[in-house]
C-alpha cells in the first residue's frame, strides 16, 4: 500500500515534487556456496533534495549493501536481482557499466567508513581529488581544476589547503582524511551524497565537526544525503527521515521526531531503549534478546518475530507465518508490524 503511494509520487511530477532518489523493491543477493544470502531483500527508499535520510540498523542488516547497490558497486558474488532505482526519474539498474561510471562521482557520490584506507596510499590526496574533476569535468582547464582542488579542501575546513594537497593519506589524521573524502564527494556538485558510517572511525569531537560540515553542505548545495549509521545519537542529530533496517528490509520509516517520540516497531523500540542515558544508573544495559536470523535461511513470517517481546505480550500468532507489509500508520510514519494492522484499516 505504501508502495503504491510511493509509485504515485515517484513517477508523477504533477505535484511539483520529483523525488531525487527513489528505490523500489530492491533486492541484492549474494550467491555463495553455502546458499543465497539475501543481504538486501525488498528495500524501498525515497530521498528528496535538501533532505538527510538516515538508514539505521545493526551490523549486517544490509544498510551498506543498499548504498552500494544504488551505485551498483556490489562485488561478486552479489548482484541486484530485483528492483528499480530512479535518480530524478531516470532508471539506473538498466544502465550499462560505462553510463554508471559517468554517473558515479558526478551525480551520486559516496564516502566511506574508514577514511584513511579509502584513500589510495600511493597518491597524494590532491591528485586523488583532482582525479574526480579530471574524469567528470575535463572541459575545464587543468590549472583551473587544480585551483578547484585547493578551494574544495578549503571548503571542507582543511587548514593550509595548498600544502595539504601534496600530503599522502598516511600523513593525515582520520578526521582530515575524511574531510578529503567529503571534498571528493562534493567535488562535482552531486545531486546525492551517500555517506556510509562516515564518522564511525573518528573520535567524538571530530565526529561533531564532520557532521556539522555535512549539514552545512546540504544546506548550501541543496543536495540529498543518505546517511548510514548504527548510532542513534547521530541519527537524532542528522536525520530528517529515518529508515530502520532489520535483516535486509526496512521495518520502520518515519520523520526523526516522530520516530524518537513514538517508535512503533518493537525493534526500533529496543534500539532506542538500548541507548545508555548519561546520569542514569543501570546494572545492565538494555539489550534486544536473541540474534538476527540467518540471511540464507530466513524463516517465514516477520523477520523479527523470534526476538519480539510484543509478539508474546500481544499473543500474536500471525507473526510466525506471514510477513507484514510496510504500512503507513500515521502521516509519513510507516512500519512493518502486525501490531498495527487494525489501525491501518
Amino acid at each position: 500500500m505504501i508502495d503504491k503511494a510511493m509509485q504515485n509520487n515517484g513517477n508523477n511530477s504533477s505535484n511539483g515534487e520529483h523525488a531525487l532518489l527513489e528505490v523500489r523493491g530492491l533486492k541484492t543477493h549474494f550467491f555463495t556456496r553455502s546458499g543465497v544470502v539475501k543481504a538486501v531483500d525488498g528495500v524501498n527508499l525515497r530521498v528528496k533534495r535538501g533532505q538527510v535520510v538516515c538508514i539505521v540498523g545493526e551490523s549486517g542488516c544490509g544498510k551498506s549493501m543498499t548504498a552500494l547497490s544504488i551505485l551498483q558497486l556490489v562485488d561478486k558474488p552479489g548482484r541486484i536481482v530485483e528492483g528499480e532505482i530512479y535518480l530524478e526519474g531516470e532508471e539506473l539498474t538498466s544502465k550499462n557499466r560505462r553510463e554508471m561510471s559517468q554517473l558515479r562521482g558526478s551525480r551520486i557520490s559516496m564516502i566511506f567508513q574508514e577514511p584513511r584506507s579509502s584513500l589510495n596510499p600511493v597518491f597524494k590526496v590532491g591528485k586523488q581529488l583532482l582525479e574526480v574533476l579530471s574524469i567528470h569535468k575535463h572541459a575545464i582547464a587543468k590549472t583551473e581544476r587544480e585551483q578547484q582542488v585547493v578551494d574544495l579542501l578549503r571548503a571542507v575546513g582543511i587548514p593550509d589547503p595548498k600544502k595539504r594537497a601534496s600530503n599522502y593519506p598516511h600523513e593525515m589524521s582520520g578526521g582530515m582524511a575524511q574531510r578529503v573524502m567529503i571534498a571528493m564527494g562534493i567535488a562535482c556538485a552531486p545531486d546525492l551524497l551517500i555517506a556510509d558510517e562516515p564518522t564511525t572511525a573518528l573520535d567524538v569531537t571530530i565526529q561533531a565537526q564532520v557532521l556539522d560540515l555535512m549539514r552545512k553542505l546540504r544546506d548550501e548545495l541543496n543536495i540529498g544525503i543518505i546517511f548510514i549509521t548504527h548510532d542513534m545519537g547521530v541519527v537524532a542529530e542528522m536525520a530528517d527521515i529515518v529508515a530502520v533496517m532489520y535483516a535486509g528490509t526496512v521495518v520502520e520509516e518515519a520523520p526523526t521526531e516522530s520516530l524518537f517520540e513514538e517508535p512503533l516497531h518493537p525493534y526500533t523500540q529496543g534500539l532506542i531503549a538500548s541507548i545508555p542515558i548519561m546520569g542514569e544508573f543501570k546494572d545492565r544495559l538494555d539489550v534486544i534478546p536473541g540474534t538476527v536470523p540467518s540471511l540464507i535461511d530466513m524463516p517465514p513470517g516477520c523477520r523479527f518475530a523470534s526476538r519480539c517481546r510484543a509478539r508474546i505480550e500481544h499473543n500474536l500468532e500471525k507473526c510466525l507465518d506471514e510477513e507484514p507489509e510496510l504500512m503507513e500508520v500515521r502521516s509519513g510514519h510507516s512500519v512493518r508490524c502486525w501490531l498495527y494492522e487494525e489501525q491501518d484499516t
Binding site: 579509502s118 600511493v122 573524502m181
Partner: protein, 354 residues
C-alpha cells in the same frame, strides 16, 4: 637517502667477507685436490709438489687465506689453474654472456609474468585464471635442464625447416667489437671495460649497427632465455595475481570506482602500483636464482658463460675461479636487492629510509 645507501653498502662488507670465508673453506673441504683433478693421470708426487708450490697450495690453510684476502684487497683474483691466465680475464670473457642471458630471462619473466598475473586476478576463478595458474604451477616445478632439453628438441629438431626453428645451442656469430666500428682508438686490454662490453653477444652488434649479427645472436638467446626465465615467470605470475586480488578488495579501490574511474583505470592506475610492491621484492630475489640457474642452462645450450666456467671449475677444483665467481655473483645479488629497496621508496610513499 645517500646516508642510507652508504650504510647499506658498508653493511654489505661483512656479508662479502663472510662469503669469502665460506667459499674459501668449502672449496678446500671438497675431496681430491686441484693437482689431481687438473692433471688426472699425469699427477705424480713430484709434479703435484711443484704444482702446489707454484700456486701456493703448500702453505698452511690460514696462511693461504691471509694471502688470498691480501690479493683480493689489491683487486687481484689470482690465476686460474685450468686456463693458466688471470681470473679477471676469464670473467671479462664469460661474464657478459651470462649477464645478457640473465637480463633477457628476467625481462621475459616480467613482461610475460606480470600481465598473466593481472589477467588471472581480473578474471579470477574463470577458465583463463585456472589455466594460467595450472601453467604457472607446471612452470615452477619443471627442472631447468629438462625444460631446456625439451625446448631444444621441439624448436631445434621438431620444427626444423619451419619458420619457428630456433638454434638449439651455441652462441651465434662473432661480431666486430663496437669500438672498432666506431673507429675509436681505445686501449682494449683483455680486462678492460671495452672488451667486457664487446663480449656481449647482442649489445655489441647493436652498438656496432650490425642488425643481422644482432638478430642471429639474439635468436641463440631465445631458447636459453625461455628455459631460464620460466621459473621466475611462474613465481611472478602467481605473486602478481594474489597481490592484485588482495588490492582489488581494498577500500581505496572501491573509492576509485565510486569516483567514476573506469575499470581499466581502477586496475592499471589505482590497483597496479600497490599490487606491484611485493612483486618487486620477488623480482629482486629471483635474480639470485637466475644467476645460479644460468649454470644449468648454459651447460644445456652450450653457451660458454659464467655458469659453464663455474661448472668446470668446480669439477676441476679450480679454487680461484670458484671463489672469484661466487663472490661476484654474491655482490651482484646484494646490489640488486639494494636497488630493490631503493625502488620501494619511489613506489610506496609510506616507506622512508632512515
Amino acid at each position: 637517502m645517500t646516508g642510507y645507501i652508504l650504510r647499506r653498502l658498508i653493511l654489505a662488507i661483512p656479508v662479502i667477507i663472510g662469503i669469502l670465508f665460506f667459499t674459501f673453506a668449502l672449496t678446500r673441504l671438497l675431496p681430491s685436490d686441484p693437482c689431481r683433478q687438473q692433471l688426472q693421470e699425469h699427477a705424480t708426487e713430484a709434479v703435484c709438489r711443484e704444482f702446489n708450490r707454484r700456486h701456493g697450495l703448500d702453505q698452511p690453510i690460514p696462511e693461504q687465506f691471509r694471502r688470498y684476502l691480501g690479493d683480493i684487497a689489491r683487486g687481484d683474483f689470482g690465476d686460474s689453474f685450468e686456463y693458466g691466465y688471470s681470473v679477471s680475464r676469464l670473467m671479462v670473457e664469460r661474464f657478459p654472456r651470462t649477464l645478457e642471458l640473465t637480463v633477457y630471462a628476467m625481462l621475459f619473466a616480467i613482461i610475460v609474468g606480470v600481465p598473466l598475473g593481472i589477467i588471472s586476478a581480473y578474471y579470477h576463478h574463470s577458465a583463463i585464471d585456472v589455466g594460467t595458474m595450472v601453467g604457472a604451477n607446471l612452470g615452477v616445478s619443471m627442472p631447468v635442464f629438462w625444460l631446456g632439453l625439451m625446448l631444444a628438441y621441439v624448436f631445434g629438431v621438431l620444427l626444423k625447416d619451419t619458420i619457428f626453428w630456433l638454434p638449439p645451442g651455441g652462441s651465434g656469430v662473432d661480431t666486430r667489437p663496437f669500438y672498432e666500428v666506431w673507429g675509436l682508438s681505445v686501449e682494449a686490454s683483455e680486462t678492460s671495460i671495452w672488451t667486457f662490453i664487446a663480449h656481449m653477444d647482442t649489445l655489441n652488434p647493436l652498438l656496432g649497427g650490425n642488425l643481422a649479427g644482432f638478430w642471429d645472436n639474439f635468436r641463440h638467446m631465445i631458447l636459453p632465455m625461455a628455459a631460464l626465465g620460466t621459473i621466475p615467470l611462474s613465481i611472478i605470475a602467481r605473486m602478481s595475481r594474489s597481490s592484485l586480488l588482495e588490492v582489488l578488495g581494498q577500500n581505496y579501490v572501491r573509492t576509485a570506482r565510486a569516483k567514476g574511474v573506469r575499470e581499466r583505470g581502477v586496475v592499471f592506475k589505482h590497483a597496479f602500483r600497490n599490487a606491484m610492491l611485493p612483486v618487486v621484492t620477488i623480482i629482486g630475489l629471483s635474480f639470485g636464482s637466475l644467476l645460479s640457474g644460468a649454470v644449468l642452462t648454459e651447460t644445456v645450450f652450450g653457451l660458454s658463460g659464467v655458469g659453464d666456467a663455474l661448472f668446470s671449475a668446480i669439477t676441476g677444483r679450480d679454487y680461484t675461479v670458484v671463489q672469484a665467481f661466487t663472490i661476484v655473483i654474491a655482490i651482484i645479488f646484494v646490489f640488486v636487492n639494494l636497488v630493490v629497496d631503493i625502488l620501494y621508496v619511489f613506489l610506496d610513499p609510506r616507506i622512508r629510509l632512515e
